[in-house]
């Protein structure tokens, strides 16, 4: 395990996994990415970089999606191990929030 603190998706090294926290992107882009599986609490793995070093292929929800560095930079992540929230509770909260 690397000691370096990784905060955004673009910093994730190939082969490493992390948990998605939030997407700081324009709403349409954010919405599109979320429909492709980039939702909070989803586990994401950096699979490989394109031959030119960018974009990077990420694996999420069994799917491989390529993103450029500047897009991945706007996606906040946290390490897999420090998962503290109960997914069920969070989701119910979110639903309640949305329903309001």
């Amino acid at each position: 395990m690397g000691a370096r603190k990784v905060n955004v998706l673009s910093e994730l090294s190939v082969g490493q996994s992390a948990v998605l926290v939030a997407l700081d992107l324009p709403e349409t882009v954010q919405n599109h990415l979320m429909h492709m599986g980039f939702v909070p609490d989803a586990e994401v793995t950096a699979v490989r970089r394109a031959p030119a070093g960018d974009p990077t292929v990420y694996s999420i929800d069994g799917l491989e999606i390529a993103l450029r560095h500047e897009t991945a930079e706007a996606i906040r992540i946290r390490p897999v191990s420090t998962s503290s929230t109960l997914p069920e509770a969070t989701q119910n909260m979110e639903l309640a929030e949305v329903a309001r």
Binding site: L25, T28, V29, Q30, N31, H32, L33, M34, H35, M36, G37, V39, P40, V47, R48, A50, P51, A52, G53, D54, P55, V57, S59, D61, G62, L63, E64, I65, A66, L67, R68, E70, T71, Q91, E94, L95, V98, A99
Partner: protein, 638 residues
Amino acid sequence: MSSCCAPPAFEPPAGPQAPGKFRTVALIGPPNSGKSTLFNRLTGLRQKVANYPGVTVEQRMGVMAGVGRNDLTLIDLPGIYSLTPYSEDARVAVEVLAGTMHGTPKPDAVLLVLDSQHLTRQLMLAAPILATGLPTLVLLNMTDLMEQRGGKVDSLQLARELSAPVAQISAVHGTGLNAINLFLNQPGNGTGSHPSLTLPVIGNAASAHTWAAQVSRRTGYRAPLSVEGTQKIDSVLLHRIWGPLLFLAVVIGVFEVVFSIGQPLSDGFGDILARMGDLARPLLPTGWMQSLVLDGIWKGISSVLVFLPQILLLFLFIGILEDSGYLARAALIADRVMRTIGLNGKAFIPLLSAYACAVPAIMATRTIENKRDRLATILVTPFMTCSARLPVYLLLIAAFIPNTVYLHGVIGLRTIVMLGLYVAGFVAAFTTARILKSSILKSSETPFILELPQYRMPTLQSLALRVIDRGRIFMKNAGTVIVGVTMALWVLAHLPVIHTATGAIAAPELASSVIGRLGHFIEPVIAPLGFNWKIGIGLLSSVLAREVMVSTMGTLYGTDPSTQALSLQTALHHDMTLGGALALMIFFAFAMQCTSTMAVVKRETNSWKWPIVQFIYMLVLAYGAAFVVNHVTMALLG
């Protein structure tokens, strides 16, 4: 090819409809979930199916013959992730579903196709679809693949959760399709309102995902293990060094094969066609009839048909690239280069498929989210070397370029010239895009988001169907446009009739015929390019479609007694020097001689402005480049 790619006219089934039955059913689902495969199975139509997201870019309608209801119209729609459209193709799907798409009836039932290998994510689309209130049958596609790899789902429980019928199918193998039959023939089953259904807030991705995750958990969904195969292949095909090298090797290999295998095939085919003409000669009465049919029409058609083997080979290779899933990787590799011209890797896919034909390529630009990026791609796509240029290139190369080989037979001079022409088109496309994107079409960057599908083995059946379809289109073109043009040419080449010294009626010398005079009229304009009046006639006729150039030359030489006995390649030496031949090739590389492309650009941009600008720009560039090439070659050869 010209007019090759116009969508087939569709007549909705006529006749009385049983009341209460569905008339129009829409196939909807996320990209790459197998809708088109299912559509083909249900209708017997052969919609193009390739292995990358976004193949279907417009709605397609067909009569459902496959499940025994031929009074029913099925609409295949572009893949969508949600009802908030992100790109032009998704907008088409949403509009058809809402009934606001002009010329397409509003569907009264929906077949929702979901890839069961990624069910949780795919279920996100179920919420907005069910919320439309349309009777919906949920089809879990590729369940066989999912189960083989350890996945499972309780489809009965899922049906209860969604308050809609659910069926497990395999569109590829055609299993489970009787559920569709049952659903369509027994309306009332699973239709109407969904009383027990609590749907998430529509349009909110987070809430849709939470809902989908809960539904999939309650239905005992277990995602299959991911396959290692794709990862292993990608570690080579997307390798830092091997990736780009293999990409180049593939492209060069395709052309090498088109020459080394395709050329002898084409030569053999040409011999057969010539022999057929000779066999028919005694059967026809001598005189104008024989001349029109054999020297006019048959020479014209066969001079184009000869290239059929090589064009089919090219389509076979492009088919393999598309079906296997490699195109998406090509887009990924190309992204870095594309960004230097202000576009992204997605614009590369239409450019690559334009090697076959610009018309479907321009339609494929609908997957590009940014409007200005899309317009720039549309405007440069006709520079890519389409298969209609191939007959012209192949003819001129075979006639003027010696068959020298280098590197112990690895690469030939003819292949190098051919690659050079492809590169010229590519460079013109890139430079133009660069200019457009840094001036009139400047825009802020839209993020590049690309889904990489799993690799699939292209099936022999799908490849064969593609090649047969292409062959049919090519033949049909030869049978319509080319027959028409060659007949008109033959007539114009024989008018006005003259009276010989003996008083008999005869055709004029080609040069003094109507077409000859027309050619002479434009000769001053094209003479600086190294073209004489005969080539001028060919250029005029090729505005319809590029390959018509070849048939025109075939007809002209066939009609002229001085060149009648010669092969087309030899006859061309009467009218052109090497400089003129190279200039003609570069002219074809850059000029926009295709009415079908102009029509599709007009349709996709909603105005005549862009096709006209494009035509003039490409013509000016073609003229300038041909002028330079002709003069440089003349100077070099002394």
